[in-house]
Symmetry: C2
Subunit: 396 residues, 2 copies
């Protein structure tokens, strides 16, 4: 049995991939064994999934084989599903095996949070993986095909629950997609309704109000009907009950209204808030020097004492710090504090439209849309260099 420390990374999302790539760069030969576990043999670009979900882009622009991103001579890639983490035994139970670790990095990403809204889990679709996204795309197309045969108007009603970033971005793509589907299926576009329902008093809560107004205007012009400040009370197989009991008939309901941490974290016995673990300044789980939790599974507080919202941006930055701190731990050096550097926020509003705040500057329209592309390409560049940008980048 070898004596070199075992590092296990769970999840090859934004956080996990960045951790793995940095470890592979910084670790010396035989300094540690690194294993990366992921449910699929590909990494998906979650921030891009709203496009294939609506059908405005292909799946292949949203994923990359993990083997192209890491050096398999340096890191063991295990394609499997994590079932359980046994922190006392330092073991990870996979669906088809078992791993032991000395250092554990948890980057399993979030899960939809339905806030106990009745029927939401059963009847709504969510944007969370390649499979879920293909499901939404096919479901939407299928409604058009069915409509042409049974003429049920509710097939042409699409409800998106949640007007946060992913809700707004998906609604925008859907609004771009509808005219194409209408042509393809000979459906009058005026018969189609896209409802975006949000319980909070505003769309894109926390974002600049002027840009929120701009975004809503753009989407209204694309045909979106907003129901803001209106909670979904119940989700049914054929619609949603909103506000004071009004029913919106719809065969398609996509829920983007909330994200919580992966249930595996909670099951492992960590103390959680909405499934997330409040990590220390070094990204470690409280009480466990050798367990790091990053991305959507962690809760990190800003200097004002409020948690940062879960984003790809923070997950990536945490991945980098996490890798440094694992290396520091192995070398018995001081760990590094995680400091979030906000590069800004962009929300795409479909073809040629977006809103953004970068360094306190507001941007909108075409310029912001270009920025969105640059952000996407920058990510491709970080994880895969120029070849990946050329292969997966969307230049138009």
């Amino acid at each position: 049995m070898s004596n070199i420390p075992k590092i296990v990374i769970l999840g090859a999302g934004y956080g996990g991939i960045l951790t793995a790539q940095r470890l592979q760069k910084e670790l010396k030969y035989n300094e540690a064994d690194v294993t990366l576990v992921n449910r699929h043999d590909y990494h998906y670009i979650t921030t891009h999934l709203h496009m294939p979900a609506a059908g405005t882009d292909t799946i292949e622009h949203s994923r990359v084989p993990i083997s192209k991103l890491i050096d398999e001579f340096k890191i063991d890639l295990v394609k499997s599903t994590v079932k359980e983490i046994r922190v006392q035994e330092k073991k990870v139970i996979l669906e088809d095996g078992l791993l032991t670790y000395d250092y554990l990095v948890i980057g399993l990403g979030g899960e939809p949070e339905t806030f106990g809204i009745r029927g939401m889990k059963e009847h709504a679709m969510t944007i969370r993986s390649i499979n879920s996204v293909r499901m939404i795309r096919e479901h939407v197309e299928y409604q058009f095909a069915l409509y042409k045969n049974d003429r049920r108007e509710s097939r042409l009603n699409f409800v998106v629950g949640g007007a946060g970033f992913s809700g707004i971005e998906f609604v925008a793509e859907l609004a771009d997609r509808i005219p194409v589907l209408c042509r393809e299926f000979d459906v009058d576009p005026n018969r189609v309704n896209i409802y975006n329902v949000e319980a909070a008093p505003t769309a894109l809560p926390g974002f600049d109000p002027e840009l929120v107004e701009y975004a809503m205007d753009v989407l209204k012009r694309k045909g979106v009907t907003f129901r803001i400040g209106v909670p979904i009370k119940e989700c049914l197989p054929d619609g949603v009950i909103v506000g004071e009991g009004e029913k919106i008939q719809a065969q398609t309901i996509v829920w983007t209204g909330g994200i919580r941490g992966n249930h595996i974290i909670e099951d492992a016995g960590f103390e959680v808030m909405r499934g997330r673990v409040k990590v220390d300044e070094f990204l470690r789980a409280p009480g466990y020097d050798h367990i790091f939790i990053i991305g959507d599974n962690s809760l990190f507080f800003n200097p004002e004492g409020r948690p940062y919202p879960p984003t790809a941006q923070i997950a990536m930055q945490q991945g980098v710090t996490c890798a440094r701190n694992v290396v520091a731990a192995i070398r018995r050096r001081q760990p590094h504090k995680f400091v979030f550097s906000n590069k800004g926020t962009v929300a795409s509003l479909g073809k040629g439209e977006a809103v953004a705040v970068v360094g306190g500057r507001k941007m909108k329209g075409w310029t912001a849309a270009q920025l969105k592309k640059i952000v996407d390409m920058r990510y491709l560049f970080i994880i895969g260099g120029i070849p990946l940008v050329l292969k997966k980048g969307r230049f138009f």
Copy 2:
């Protein structure tokens, strides 16, 4: 009120379009009023529908706006659905109006015949129109998306009932399509099953036995499982009961096992056999000198006293004779006898494969596949000339 005779053509399929085009050519200015009624504003090429049904070709290769095929200065185009024919009153009831006629041409095409098999009408899809075809394509794709989420194996089982010409042609396209869908949805092709179930003792009943064997070999190599001589006893939402009670689990059932005449013919009081009217040698309904019935709605007997099978070929030829006979009736001339000239039969077996009998010669493989394309293009040429061949023809 004008005194010129009114000709009404019901259906713009193979028979109806040919009738309309010939009338528009032969009739002199103000010699008659011609109205062509069709449910859609496009003509679809039924013999091509197995491709978009499987998703191996686009819808747009299977249809043409009727306005491109007829001269609207000479023929009134009415986009409407025929509800009823009142032969005593010489009236046609449309969903949104009423037409009177002096001469009536009925070319409303066939309907699926389910032979009273329980559940078939409710649970099976059929290839019969653009809408039904889009339905099949989307349904099949949706099963792949659903499978990736619920892993129900029956989603990957596809049952095609009937191994006649349209059944075989559809099965072949489906077999070509499955590998593409498997790649797109990350499904192991070995998990997918295509069953072709036929009650008759052979596939392609009536066709040359050597070619039938060839066709089945080609399709078996493409992964099709044949169940020949095995009747479907019942169709369920999740499969079919065949033979002595065996159940084939499947979420997708496409029925191609039979065609009958349009129910409107029977409802009008004509004497029918499987919904078809046995017409006289001039294509007239018995007892009605001024009503012509062509294509899938008519039954025409060969010199040996057996009915010709309903095909596009005979429908087209009948359209031509029918037009001549309507003109003859208006001009009080002798009508022309209809004589079917068999140009041969081709059945495509997917990409690069087909079987054919032409002038007593057997053909198979690539040569037969080329012939199929030539037949398709010939039809496009007949109805729309070179421009239509260039626009809708499939050259590869």
